[in-house]
């Protein structure tokens, strides 16, 4: 099956998932992001690349923080940004997802940033655009269901590269609810594509997908074992809903076994960095002393995120 993210020339036309992208494209995005970091450090934080272009933020699932970083990134590229918060009730009025896309294309949209609760929604959009011959409209996935959050995966890689330089010697542990996490899936694909030799998943059985080992991941249920000598710890957010089903008994019990405390962090390499996609649940997955401590790079992740999103949008919009 042809990769729906690449155009006829093998260039990135949509960013739907990290999975399936060759290492060269990931590296290109990270390298380009470095240049955009410099732009974000200037007085005038703007370049004219997407001047006159319209970026539509299509958020079917609420997220002020992700939407804001995309908006900032698009504006720094001089694009016009339109925010559409489409919740379930307006689509219940009868307009299908694809009808919405057709309408927005008629309003001369150039790029859609899409967040949706259903895995695969951005693919449906990309396929539809291809079918109607609009190869001048691009899709960037801002998170689809549990499947992928590729810009987060990429900014996580940028962060790791910034602090650790070389991927080929690292041990990286991802801790928490990987079953429901699109960030985890994108991180795993990015880490393995960039050549990280040891990727670990740490969590209780109920929160890990059954076939994780097929993705090249070592599974640990004991966090003390799993954190030994790791260079990077990526903590995932534990959502409240998980405590309502039969997946977990309580936040307290979770924190005791899988929360990152200073004691547990001490088992990792002394230079280990601690990452988190945000927003954090202090006292549930991460102890405040760690979140505010010297090894946490959680705030820099946010800054890197804007540069990475600028890089992604400028690359796809030009192809």
């Amino acid at each position: 099956m042809l990769n729906p993210q690449l155009n006829k020339n093998g260039e990135l036309s949509h960013l739907l998932s990290v999975e399936g992208l060759p290492r060269a494209i990931l590296t290109q995005i990270l390298d380009t992001a470095e240049s955009f970091m410099e732009v974000s450090a200037r007085e005038v934080k703007k370049v004219p690349l997407l001047r006159g272009k319209s970026v539509f933020n299509l958020f079917f699932e609420n997220s002020t923080r992700t939407r804001t970083t995309f908006e900032i990134a698009a504006k720094r590229l001089s694009a016009d940004v339109i925010n559409l918060d489409i919740n379930k009730s307006s689509t219940a009025k009868g307009e299908t997802l694809l009808d919405t896309i057709d309408n927005l294309c008629a309003m001369h949209a150039n790029l859609f940033v899409v967040r949706h609760a259903s895995s695969g929604a951005p693919y449906l959009i990309a396929e539809h655009l291809q079918r109607i011959g609009r190869d001048d409209v691009h899709v960037v996935n801002a998170g689809d269901g549990r499947h992928a959050h590729p810009t987060q995966g990429l900014l996580d890689m940028y962060t790791i590269r910034h602090y650790k330089k070389d991927f080929s010697q690292l041990r990286v542990a991802i801790v928490g609810d990987i079953l429901h996490s699109r960030v985890a899936r994108s991180d795993i694909h990015a880490l393995t594509t960039l050549g990280v030799p040891e990727v670990r998943a740490i969590g209780p059985e109920t929160l890990l997908p059954k076939h994780l080992d097929k993705l090249g991941v070592h599974v640990f249920h004991d966090m003390n074992e799993g954190l030994k000598d790791v260079d990077v710890v990526i903590m995932l957010r534990l959502q409240n809903e998980r405590m309502n089903g039969a997946l977990l008994p309580s936040a307290g019990e979770y924190f005791r076994h899988y929360g990152l405390t200073p004691q547990k962090l001490a088992l990792a390499s002394p230079e280990a960095i601690v990452m988190h996609p945000g927003p954090m649940n202090r006292g549930v997955e991460i102890h405040s002393a760690v979140a505010d401590g010297p090894q946490a790079v959680i705030l820099p992740q946010v800054t890197f995120g804007i540069a990475v999103r600028m890089a992604v949008m400028s690359i796809v919009a030009g192809n």
């Binding site: 997802l97 695969g120 693919y123 449906l124 539809h128 992928a148 059954k210």
Partner: protein
């Protein structure tokens, strides 16, 4: 009307017939093969040179959303009898509705309509529907379609009641709790793509429950659309034990697996879900060994309900017009003879229904499908008579095309 079908290769799987010969029809019944009966004068002659003459196909599961279009699609696909699940809107839980459906089918005069009556009112798994009344109105068995009976006590009582009258009960073995949030098989693909899962346990737990209730009630049960290797094993054991249990397999599950989801293709969304290679293999063996019948599970879905993100798309695919080519495709890959393959969609379904049909014995009703097993055609929306254009095979070239279909000795489809 006296009809002679000549020069065709007549295959009658039930009677072990497979030879190039003529077939004679008088007054809607098969009167003989080979030699014309004494005094026979053909009023109509059908030349079946290069074609297979087969009993018309009996499809154990086809939804007739717009009845005229779908019955036309049925005979275009060589299907002469369709068993209709009771989950139309409104559900078929009143004798009057069954009456109307049978009547309408007869009026249209294409494929025969064999309705399944709802086991419970509204299919809600609580109160029994009027089974005897529904039977009288033409229902051939009772079913919950895809809706599980959550309350095991209610299921027990329903099966007891059905057993009283020796009514067969058709059930989809899918545990409500383990399947209610899932959209795909609990396998590698779902792990990778982040899809909510329906584990195999959803099927095996339901099968085990049903089998125990069969033991206790003596109710005859037909399990529809099995999907897993473990499920097949359980049913096999029950059959070996001598319990009155049978099962069928949807033709798409013989050919496709979870891998066909690809990039979230909504046409690969089925209920039960497409499972792993090993499951497909077990289903294929079961069909090859004659343990199970094959059906199309025809489910027309409009584009508005299908072209959606995978988890929101309505499950199911168009089936009536692809039943033949897909069955032939499966048979070739599985090394099953043409006669055996045809048996799975003719005689085996008839046996499960406990009705005559599905064969070309002398005296049998002349429901016949004449088809070219080598003819190729491309599956496009225009090529289908069904309103359901939803198919994972769209754009593919399929092999096997029906040329002529007769129901009760009357030509109801001519290509």
């Amino acid at each position: 009307m006296n009809i002679e079908i000549k020069n065709g290769r007549v295959i009658d799987p039930k009677n072990g017939v497979d030879l190039k010969t003529s077939l004679y029809i008088v007054d809607g019944k098969v009167v003989g093969l080979g030699q014309a009966p004494a005094g026979f004068v053909a009023e109509q002659t059908i030349d079946a040179t290069g074609k297979i003459v087969s009993p018309g196909f009996i499809d154990l599961g086809a939804r007739l959303n717009s009845i005229e279009a779908e019955l036309a699609a049925a005979v275009a696909g060589g299907v002469t009898s369709v068993v209709v699940p009771p989950d139309a809107d409104p559900p078929l839980d009143e004798p009057e509705l069954a009456d109307r459906l049978v009547h309408r089918g007869a009026e249209i005069g294409k494929a025969r309509v064999l309705p399944l009556g709802a086991l419970t009112l509204g299919l809600n798994g609580e109160r029994l529907a009027e089974l005897a009344g529904l039977k009288k109105a033409g229902c051939v068995a009772f079913s919950q379609a895809n809706k599980p009976v959550v309350d095991t006590e209610a299921l027990l009582r329903a099966m007891e009641y059905a057993a009283t009258f020796d009514f067969p009960v058709w059930l989809q073995a899918q545990d409500h709790w383990l399947s209610r949030n899932g959209i795909a098989h609990d396998g590698e693909v779902a792990s990778r793509l982040g899809l909510a899962v329906i584990p195999v346990a959803a099927e095996t737990i339901a099968i085990a429950t049903i089998i125990q209730l069969v033991r206790d009630t003596g109710c005859r049960v037909h399990l529809t659309r099995l999907s897993s290797a473990a499920g097949v094993n359980l049913v096999k054991q029950a059959v070996d034990e001598g319990l009155p249990v049978s099962f069928d397999i949807g033709v798409h599950h013989l050919l496709l697996t979870e891998n066909d989801i690809g990039f979230f293709n909504p046409h690969a969304r089925f209920s039960p879900p497409l499972r792993a290679q090993s499951d497909r293999q077990a289903l294929s063996s079961a069909a090859a060994n004659g343990l199970a019948a094959i059906c199309s599970d025809h489910t027309p879905v409009g584009a508005d309900d299908k072209l959606l993100p995978f988890g929101e798309a309505k499950p199911g695919a168009t089936g009536l017009e692809v039943l033949l080519p897909l069955t032939l495709k499966w048979a070739e890959a599985a090394g099953v003879s043409l006669a055996d393959a045809l048996g799975r969609i003719t005689w085996a379904p008839a046996r499960i229904l406990g009705l005559p049909g599905g064969d070309l014995s002398v005296g049998a009703v002349a429901d016949i499908a004449i088809f070219d097993p080598e003819a190729t055609w491309q599956l496009t929306p225009e090529a289908l008579k069904s309103r359901g254009k939803n198919s994972p095979w769209l754009g593919y070239v399929l092999t096997g095309k029906v040329n002529t279909t007769l129901v009760g000795g009357r030509v109801v489809f001519q290509d």
